[in-house]
């Protein structure tokens, strides 16, 4: 397997681990924030370098240079491929922007150590293709939010019960696969358990309530960072997609489609911004799963594109809501707040990110949504139209929230509530990505198409938990999928 020029992946994981240890001993919250920003910034640099280095290799997968993990644990434990290459810098960017945009008034409440620990776990998971590794890291990721919930004196039961069940199902399912050995078709029970675990982690209806509970009771930043990297979707691609037969994947896609519509409808009746955001995010992340599980090159490419666009845009949307909360406390959507005159830049950014999430023309989400709709209608001609309906409802929800928060009255304030320099920096960075990706979408789409073909290629080989691969005999014939069947936007 080709090698990167430096051990970027190891650096991306070790840096936040060391950073967390370094911040642990710091008592001054402001100093902890500064150190967290530096560490997260370094991690972002390493993750970005991984992506760029990988890009120059023109290969589907690569290992670290001076890799010490592979000889010990196997070749799939620490690897970067077409799927994970852009996800690494995107995730690191989110973990960098959240502490950067944390106001001083909130630094005492924000768990910086947990933030860095979560970053390390997330980077490790995105660098891992080995089943047990992913399941172990998913299990570890639930610890920082659970600790925070406990520190805040909130019930941890809804969150922990759901996450424990998720990990239990994934472990049991993967264990059964391991026991079955390399086969073209695995047992239905094993596949169902894996699928159920993924559905739980992705918050698919009716097992989604842990997500709303997390947004209710954890800090907004922690909840954002737990859900926006879409670990559930990653688990779906790595654990379920290679082994599940078409019927199982399409069942997940249909459930996700239902969730997308349900969550979009729920977003419209929410009276509080955090719950509103949670449902809006849930609707979009479900659309990502719809694309991923359609098992067609166009649908899969659409799902992967929307993954990136939603990750960027809704993270920005969430950052704006968090910035508003930092100024006024938790916000209700029952009444108008009229904050536009106080913070026009934040208002504009809120609208931009919201529109990008629904795939508005000129933004990063536009082409991905087109691909997703095309793929969905191609597979399910009638039901696929629900993707369009969900997107329409989400569009209404975005403008509804914009009007409620920024218009309808004039908010008076004795101090300036405008965006602070750090917030402006975050806004400019995300705006550049959102508009740049919208105006020049070809490189992103091309890269996601390569990832999609790679994933479909992986479905040709029955994957077993031991990591041994055996050629041929798959549920789907790749030549048939990738053949010259005319599919258009």
């Amino acid at each position: 397997m080709p090698e990167l020029h430096l051990p970027w992946l190891e650096l991306s994981i070790i840096t936040p681990v060391l950073g967390a240890l370094m911040v642990w001993s710091v008592r001054d919250p402001e100093q902890a924030r500064r150190r967290t920003i530096v560490v997260a910034g370094l991690t972002l640099f390493f993750a970005f370098s991984t992506w760029q280095d990988f890009h120059t290799l023109h290969t589907f997968e690569a290992h670290d240079h001076w890799d010490i993990i592979t000889p010990l644990l196997g070749q799939d434990v620490l690897v970067v491929d077409e799927l994970s290459a852009p996800l690494l810098p995107l995730t690191a960017l989110l973990f960098f922007l959240i502490p950067l945009a944390t106001l001083r008034t909130k630094v005492r409440r924000f768990p910086f150590v947990g933030n860095l620990a979560s970053l390390a776990l997330m980077m490790a998971m995105l660098s891992c293709r080995e089943g047990w590794g992913i399941i172990g890291l998913l299990a570890a990721q639930m610890i920082p939010p659970a600790i925070e919930l406990q520190h805040r004196g909130r019930s941890t039961r809804p969150f922990v019960l759901h996450m424990a069940l998720c990990v239990g199902l994934l472990a049991a399912g993967w264990g059964m696969l391991d026991a079955e050995g390399p086969r073209s078709e695995h047992s239905m029970i094993a596949i169902s358990m894996l699928a159920a675990g993924v559905l739980l982690r992705s918050g698919i209806c009716p097992v989604h309530c842990w997500m709303t509970d997390l947004f209710e009771n954890a800090s907004f930043g922690t909840a954002l960072l737990f859900v926006t990297p879409m670990a559930g979707a990653y688990a779906a691609v790595r654990l379920v997609l290679p082994v599940a037969p078409d019927w199982a994947l399409r069942t997940i896609a249909l459930l996700s489609l239902f969730t997308a519509v349900y969550a979009a409808g729920m977003a419209l009746v929410q009276h509080e911004v955090r719950r509103f955001f949670c449902y809006l995010f849930l609707s979009h992340s479900s659309l990502v799963l719809v694309g991923l599980e359609m098992v067609t090159p166009i649908g899969l490419t659409g799902g992967l594109c929307v993954w990136l666009s939603v990750g960027m845009s809704l993270a920005g949307f969430g950052l704006t809501l968090r910035a508003l909360e930092a100024r006024t406390g938790r916000l209700s959507l029952r009444d108008f707040h009229g904050l536009y005159e106080q913070m026009p830049i934040l208002a504009g950014f809120f609208l931009l990110t919201g529109l990008a999430s629904i795939g508005f023309p000129g933004t990063v989400g536009f082409v991905g949504t087109e691909l997703l709709v095309d793929g969905a209608v191609g597979v399910y001609p009638v039901v696929g139209m629900l993707v369009v309906f969900a997107a329409a409802l989400n569009g209404i929800a975005v403008l509804f929230a914009y009007f409620r928060l920024f218009t309808g009255r004039i908010h008076t304030s004795s101090i300036s509530l405008g965006a602070r320099p750090a917030e402006r920096l975050s806004i400019l960075a995300l705006t550049a990505l959102i508009i740049g990706g919208g105006l020049i979408p070809q490189p992103g789409v091309q890269s996601r198409y390569h990832a999609a073909t790679e994933l479909l290629e992986a479905r040709r080989r029955p994957v077993v938990a031991s990591g041994k691969l055996e050629e041929q005999s798959s549920a789907l014939d790749l030549d048939q999928i990738l053949g010259d069947v005319p599919v258009h936007p």
């Binding site: 409808g265 087109e370 300036s416 258009h488």
Partner: protein, 464 residues
Amino acid sequence: MSLDHFMTLLGILVILPPAILLATLGLSTLVNRPLGETWTSRLSQVCVSTGLAAAVVMLVMMLTLNTRFVPIELGNLVTIPQQHFHFHLKFVFDRLSVPFVILSYVLGGTVGAFTTRYLHRERGYNRFSLCYAFFMLGMIVTSLAGTIEVLFLGWELVGLSSALLVAYFHERPSPVINGLRVWTVYRLADAAFLIAAVAMHHLTGEGDFSVLMGSGPWPAGKAALTGGQAIFVGALLLIAAAGKSAMIPFSGWLPRAMEGPTPSSAIFYGALSVHLGAFLLLRVSPILEQSVLLSVLVVLMGLTTALYAAITARVQSDIKSSLAYASLTQVGIIVAEIGFGLRYIALIHIIGHACLRTLQLLRAPTLLRDYQTMENAIGGRLHSHPSSWQQRLSPTTRVWWYRFAFERGYFDSFLNEYIVAPFQAIFEWCDGMERRWTDFLAGGQSRESDVVEAQPHVVEQMEM
């Protein structure tokens, strides 16, 4: 420079100015350095004049060369060759797009010039200009679109700017609520458009109008769809057109849209945006020809809308709403003309009507003064006489029709009662069930959001 290159350059010159206007205003706003009124106005004038001049030169060139179709290929925004997927950026200059783009520039420029004075020193001048730039770009892209995807792109830009301008006076709840209503109808209509576009791709394998609508330049051409396919796709496009042009059953948003400032009302609901539905039907008119049933549907929708709007316009108590319904009456007639296959008449009707209505709406703020001037000139009051219809109808029937018109056909009440309320009730019930579930899991109250006040006692705490 060859003739083809010159025409391409000219075509780009038509499309580029509104994009430059939007980019300049958007970037300056983003970096918190919005342009002043004078610069915004000048830039707007330069962009509109350049675009208009290029469009006129293009028209002259087409007439001189006796060319009816000039395609401008700007390549693919995105392509996946292995899957034959492409988003083709193609614009066309033909007998439909050239008049429409010139009309857009003329009326857009007029309203832009009017705005300079009308909104002078308004706090939201920059916001208005930004939305105006969005609108102009959307209109030009829609008018010149050579593929259905490009048309959809422009269509969306027009929709967003429209909703934001309805909510222009956003310090009051009423314009904002109305803006959201407009946006809601647009989103649902746009969903129908998107489904139609995707369906067309899957049915014909193409998105290019020159293939979808036959090889001949507009209005010639034969759609590459069978009768049954034409009904399905055409019905979806009809819904999209009805939503954009406020035709029945979506007419409820039109009077609400009058909450916006007069310049935006003029350009959106008097002149351009309200005709976009008719424009779409004209563009896809070969599809209508494939099915008699579809054509009948278009005629029926047009005539019903015209009749409804004509009745409703008579009882409006403010001039802008009255003009809006008068405008809708004409749009209904235009749509009926399209259904009858009278495409050139419909196009001429659009141009004439848009110009007249823009003038009327821009004069609307001075209506009382105009009346005064007229009354002073004739030396007495202006009288209105009951129409012959009024004299023939019984008082009960007159009251019934009056109430029907006053309530604007009960369309809003119908939508609120039979669609919005059940939708809300279902999801609120689901929300209640979720609360019970999380409370059960948490062993107590699980939602802090329940106690969040509608208007928090703001404790502003900002520290640098």
